[in-house]
């Protein structure tokens, strides 16, 4: 059952990833990306990281897909484009991606990683993440807040109307 909980989202994630990069309609690519991000939430659930699955669904599948759809609606003529969607680096890109996957597969095959899942810290995992976020990693947390504020201001400034 644990294997099914991993392999079904994993296979669907790979298939929708291929749909993202191979689809000729940009809007279809975004929908494939939404499916891929939801399958990633499924993978997180199989890793017993429920909080991260919820964050993934809210921020990624909910937030990023929404803003990408808005950007497409603002910038695209959705019908009538006859340009090719891929440039001339198709073979080079495929070779590079395959080489990268090959390197990782080789490294994973050589490494003596275990097969057992150790016990996670006792108690509620969400509470543990929250506590360590505010005690051990509080500096990074505050810097992240500054970064997100800067990104928000920058995005609002960039997309302001022309006047």
């Amino acid at each position: 059952m644990e294997m099914l909980a991993f392999w079904v989202p994993a296979a669907l994630l790979v298939a929708s990833g291929l749909g993202v990069v191979l689809s000729t309609n940009l809007f279809h690519s975004v929908l494939w990306l939404a499916l891929a991000l939801t399958c990633t939430a499924g993978v997180f659930l199989s890793l017993q990281a429920e909080f991260l699955a919820a964050v993934q669904l809210l921020l990624y599948a909910g937030g990023i897909v929404t803003i990408v759809v808005f950007a497409i609606v603002v910038t695209q003529r959705l019908v009538g484009d006859r340009l090719s969607h891929t440039n001339r680096n198709l073979a080079g890109g495929a070779i590079l991606a395959a080489a990268f996957v090959g390197i990782i597969v080789d490294a994973v095959a050589r490494s003596p990683l275990g097969h057992a899942r150790p016990a996670m810290p006792a108690g509620d995992l969400t509470r543990t993440i929250g506590e360590s976020l505010l005690t051990r990693y509080v500096l990074a947390f505050e810097l992240l807040a500054v970064l997100m504020l800067a990104a928000m201001l920058g995005a609002v400034y960039f997309a302001r109307p022309d006047d």
């Binding site: 790979v14 990833g17 890793l47 990408v68 495929a94 990782i104 990683l113 996670m120 993440i129 360590s132």
Partner: protein, 99 residues
């Protein structure tokens, strides 16, 4: 089941995103490939966190997701601004910095 299937899945998804970034002409298509790559990294982080018995990787993943959201918002704001100026989002035509 071990951590290896998760690492292989993350590597495959990263490779697919890398292929998308290299071959797509549309700038928004390139950004979609970048999202796939960052997603694969998050899978890796959570898998290692689970199999190390610690929540550190999951905290790291929360940070990575927040930073990804900020980067996507900024990137799309730049794309929209470029579209206003040049009326195109094809990466071939965005050559203002070319010497």
């Amino acid at each position: 089941m071990g951590v290896q299937p998760y690492l292989l899945l993350a590597a495959v998804v990263f490779g697919i995103g890398l292929f998308g970034v290299i071959t797509r002409r549309n700038t928004i298509g390139i950004l979609l490939g970048i999202e796939l790559m960052l997603n694969a990294v998050n899978i890796n982080l959570v898998a290692f966190s689970r199999f190390a018995g610690s929540e550190t990787g999951m905290v790291f993943t929360v940070f990575a997701i927040c930073i990804t959201v900020s980067e996507a918002a900024m990137g799309l704001a730049i794309v929209i601004l470029l579209f206003r100026i040049r009326r195109t989002v094809m990466a071939d035509h965005l050559d203002l910095l070319r010497g």
